[in-house]
Symmetry: C2
Subunit: 685 residues, 2 copies
């Protein structure tokens, strides 16, 4: 949309005022000029960018994605008022362009889930910068939910489908959730009943509540990976397994007999994703369509390498990890977009000055603004640190259970933080933040569902807590905590040192800014909450004699424990990364960010730290003051810090978030033109 | 949209499980049956409903609005995927239907702003229940922003326009905000230069940044109330005044010469409001079009009854109070809609049970769910109490400056709480909350702007803080605090009693649940923050010798003070209302809600209460435990409590929020039908 608003007059005096925060950026550009003889010298923002993607740089994949997305016209739509139908067609075109350009060319394969996960992380890292998160979701649904089901749950006979899936020739959908069951997937109702006469399964939707719901790609998929209860001809229910069920006639739109599909309809966001509902009425599939890695039917007999149904189902669900990692990686990229937009706006937007005639000042000058934005910037770098760690573990695939727990906790923390932050960032950008041209509303409403899909956050945090309590029990019987849980082994001594009256009172800057203090706080909290959680569950069990109820009655502390533990790991890994950084300029700024993140997290949970006597009031007040100082200091470098996020400039696509140019000229370029007469005939009374 | 999903099978066993929370409701219905002989006996939810609208019952207005909105087809659209163009046309039709049915019939007049504000409050209270907040916004823009400008800022010669404005024959818009200035309205740039030769003003947009921005009704208005700098022919700038500027040819769409109007475009929400931008190039208006209550030009000479330009402008802005009160009243109604939806869903949605074969339990059974929803319900009743008080004050119009401060604080508190709560409620409803048929996304994205328009919340809270500090200064020079500030006069003795070691330790239920304790906490906090704020500003002034900077450097505590004070008044008024309630059943439940609200607010600011030594750790822990108990207790009556909100059932319009019927049947009635082939031709590769 071209600008309809000209500047026939002169630039407002108010806007001529010095943009103090931009000057940081000017300095950085100046530095580049000064260093032009030493071509290899990187700016601080370049260093930050490189730091944040360690282990999944994969430049060839990034370059090729950037080439496709920056040149192809279908990624350039500035259209904001678009019907969901048109949006879905557009996103499908985008999906196919990327599928062909990346997967068909072999730059990534679905088998890289096992062979080289870093490729997939780099892929997510670029695609999730696009300002319509529908694209990411739809790509993931086909290749890393449907495709991953075929790869992870199937065996050789199914794997031959992978080339067609990843090239987009065979589009699939992942039919797990039902109308009546989302979190409690073990109670899914769809049935797959074995018919020995024909060696087939009959897929059936027995109740309305068993209708498959939210199924992404439902409008375009030719085949579905359907989670259904495997019931043998003797009536025995072997619980939920996954089956490949063709739903449409080959390469066409028409449905196969017995399949009914509809549109779940409008949503809060993700308008470009075709979420549908699917019902099956006596749909027959050959028994070989059972994805049979964890349970198979041969010659009419069911068998499984895992006898315990709970453990078997846990193995089936374990593949969900890709979705969770995608959300952690993807939502922090979206968070970065939001922070970039709000920070650049806050540096360029001037409002109020000392007198009614003096120049106005950038809104980032206000401490309330700094206190809101700077901890978000620090948290984002903390998330980058844990992403680097998680990426490395995902690549190495050692102790997959541990990675699974960490990925679950991180998904819950990052997705909640992203949504809540975007809600705040919208407000910080005022009316302009509410406008479509800011893109904040679009990314907020789309990314928000990250708190729900791939495992509701409250459920995921319970999984983390459950794992911690299980390990705690083992610790009692002599097995030591290992891996990311190792720090919990120190708990007794920690609890004691935490109560040292000198430490709890000490409130000088050197102490409060030390990594040791920050870590001690975090580790003390998790350890104490772990012990208290175990006591609470046990006490409630003694009262109720019923483990389900005892667990539920303990939920508040269990969720608290899971968050505390995940935040501890985030801080640990951030500190580790800062400590090994050799570049002084880089380590110096990362250190400040790490200090701000740590103190911010501690302040967010003063309730715990004060009530457990770990911090005395003087110390707590000193922390508040330090946070204010760090926010003020770091705000001077805000423009460099958000450039250091490394989001591709061409994908920011927000009139408020452009690094270059006049804020208001950028807005006018994206704003709408005259109202059209046709639509407003009603205004004539 | 009719249901596309049939129930060809049987109802899911899982769904047959006992709905324990609904039984509360069943009990209430049972009670009605039992009491059928005493027809006058009200249910508890009826009593709650009547309680919450005291002083602005105005049943004739409510009844007529309900008649119009429940019968007219244009209010029944279930369409969720609608273009902004179509949405705007629909909302305009709705506006005109209400304007004709209510205002033209004389049930309410714009002059009721002065004569009987309760009518306007009743009007807001019904219209804001409609599931598209665009309707409320557009009605307010015409009648209570544009119309109020004419009424409050104009004189007799302008008031003759009021009948045409309120009947919808003359649609207007309120052109205050500019592209470059929203919060700092005193620095608006549009000029109105007096031409003595023709006794006219020339309206001019001097810079791009001076373009009027966000102007609601811009597509439909024939006239604008334009805020512009009044500049006399001697060049003297008399600062911002308001002028009536015709923008369209009579009753038509075409623009008058020199007027340029365009669409601000897509937004996060409020898609039905035609927000536009307007530029003026040498547009001439007769001098009589100046709304001249606070400043006039007669025979070429400017004069004003208020000599001080700051005070004059403050008087002009004082009319904004209607907008702020509308947002407080309107956004709490929207919050109620959201809570009703999430609570009924939480009672009907079952997930997980003690074993994989036992019945599942309603998700409201989970303590984490109760801890999230029940404080929202309690807060809503607290907001109702302060609304009753504010409504009474608004009606009596005594000490308008005090009402203005209270309305500003309340607007900031309620709008922020509403947005943040709706974000949480969406998550609590899981995937179904994300679906359009929940209506949560639509109301969230629309109401969110309430934090920004009619005064950015951070700005409004600063106004509250500024007033408190001004009164504090006066107190020092012998003037006593009056009205809602009276409690601050007790501060010295309070500060002392707060430090009483026995009180700070006492942690028995009787003490913690006593209104006296809750009030003491609140009043101690405001008083202490007031003293600290004064000290902080004064200290910063000594450092900087510059009041603008000194104020800005103190922002964190000033905002804290403003929130604390507003929350104190809310709790005070809630307690007062509960204490005078004679109906035992009603006062008993309100008392619990009031206790929960008070303890919840205290816990939210443990940082302050613990760091100021007002609460010792044992007491803080006892509060946390009590909150859990109150949430659990009150959750048993959740269905009654949300019915007691009194929202009209026909306007809830959410598949999750229906009081009656099967949850999943309700969803299926609203969900979309089959995907259409035309839109998905791209799926054929």
């Amino acid at each position: 949309m071209t600008s309809q608003i000209s500047e026939p007059y002169k630039i407002g005096d108010g806007y001529k005022a010095m943009l103090q925060f931009q000057s940081t950026n000017v300095n950085e550009n100046q530095q580049i000029l000064n260093d032009q003889n030493s071509k290899n010298k990187l700016t601080l923002s370049d260093k930050l960018k490189n730091w944040s993607i360690q282990g999944f740089e994969n430049h060839n994949i990034r370059d090729e994605l950037n080439r496709i997305m920056s040149t192809s016209e279908i990624f350039k739509s500035n259209e904001l008022d678009i019907t969901k139908e048109a949006n879905r067609v557009l996103v499908l075109k985008q999906v196919l362009e990327i599928t062909r350009g990346i997967f068909e060319k072999g730059l990534i394969q679905i088998t890289d889930l096992r062979d080289d996960p870093s490729k997939i992380l780099a892929f997510i890292d670029i695609v999730s910068q696009f300002d319509d998160p529908s694209l990411m979701t739809k790509l993931i649904v086909n290749n890393f939910l449907f495709g991953a089901a075929v790869f992870n749950l199937g065996t050789d006979r199914h794997h031959k489908l992978l080339p067609d899936i990843q090239s987009g020739r065979l589009l699939g959908c992942f039919a797990m959730t039902e109308l009546g069951h989302g979190s409690n997937v073990r109670s899914l109702e769809t049935t797959a009943t074995y018919d020995p006469k024909t060696d087939e399964f009959i897929i059936q939707t027995p109740y309305r509540t068993s209708t498959k719901w939210w199924i992404g790609n439902a409008a375009h998929a030719q085949i579905a990976s359907v989670f259904a209860r495997l019931i043998m001809d003797d009536g025995k229910d072997h619980e939920v397994h996954c089956f490949l069920v063709p739903i449409r006639k080959s390469n066409g739109f028409d449905l196969l007999p017995g399949v009914k599909i509809g549109d779940v309809g409008a949503k809060f966001g993700l308008h470009g994703v075709d979420n549908g509902w699917i019902q099956f009425d006596k749909v027959r599939i050959p028994s070989s369509n059972l994805l049979d890695r964890f349970g198979s039917v041969e010659n009419g007999v069911y068998s499984s390498p895992i006898k315990n149904p709970s453990r078997r189902f846990a193995n089936i669900l374990a593949q969900m990890i890709t979705g969770r990692i995608t959300i952690s990686f993807g939502s922090t990229r979206t968070l970065k977009s939001g922070i970039i937009i709000a920070t650049r706006y806050a540096c360029k937007r001037l409002q109020f000055g000392p007198t009614s005639t003096s120049p106005e000042i950038p809104i980032l000058s206000y401490p309330t603004h700094q206190l809101a934005i700077m901890p978000m910037i620090a948290s984002t770098y903390a998330f980058d640190a844990i992403k680097i760690y998680l990426g490395k573990r995902f690549q190495e695939r050692t102790d997959e259970a541990e990675i699974h727990v960490l990925a679950s906790g991180l998904k819950a923390i990052t997705s909640q933080f992203t949504t809540v932050s975007l809600v705040e960032l919208r407000k910080l950008c005022g009316g302009h933040g509410y406008a479509g041209y800011s893109r904040l509303g679009k990314i907020l409403s789309s990314i928000d569902v990250g708190r729900t899909f791939e495992g509701d956050n409250t459920l995921l945090l319970q999984q983390v807590a459950k794992d911690l309590l299980t390990q705690f029990k083992k610790e009692y019987s002599g097995n030591k905590f290992t891996g990311t849980l190792k720090y919990l082994g120190k708990n007794t001594s920690l609890l004691l040192s935490g109560m040292n009256p000198i430490t709890t009172m000490r409130s000088d800057d050197t102490h409060l800014l030390s990594f040791q203090f920050l870590l001690d706080c975090m580790e003390f909290r998790s350890s104490k909450l772990l012990i208290q959680s175990a006591q609470t569950v046990s006490k409630n069990y003694k009262k109720t004699k019923e483990s389900f109820t005892a667990w539920n009655q303990s939920l508040e502390i269990l969720i608290h424990l899971a968050k505390a533990h995940t935040e501890t790991i985030i801080l640990q890994k951030f500190i580790e990364k800062v400590q090994i950084e050799k570049d002084l300029e880089l380590s110096s700024i990362l250190k400040k960010l790490c200090q701000l993140y740590g103190l911010y997290i501690i302040r967010e949970d003063f309730e715990f730290f004060r009530n457990s006597n770990y911090l005395k009031k003087g110390k707590a007040k000193a922390i508040i003051k330090l946070i204010g100082q760090l926010c003020s200091d770091l705000s001077q470098q805000a423009m460099v810090l958000v450039k250091g996020f490394g989001n591709e400039e061409y994908m920011i696509n927000s009139a408020l978030g452009m690094e270059e140019g006049d804020l208001y000229e950028n807005i006018c370029k994206q704003v709408g033109g005259p109202f059209t007469k046709d639509n407003y005939i009603q205004s004539k009374l």
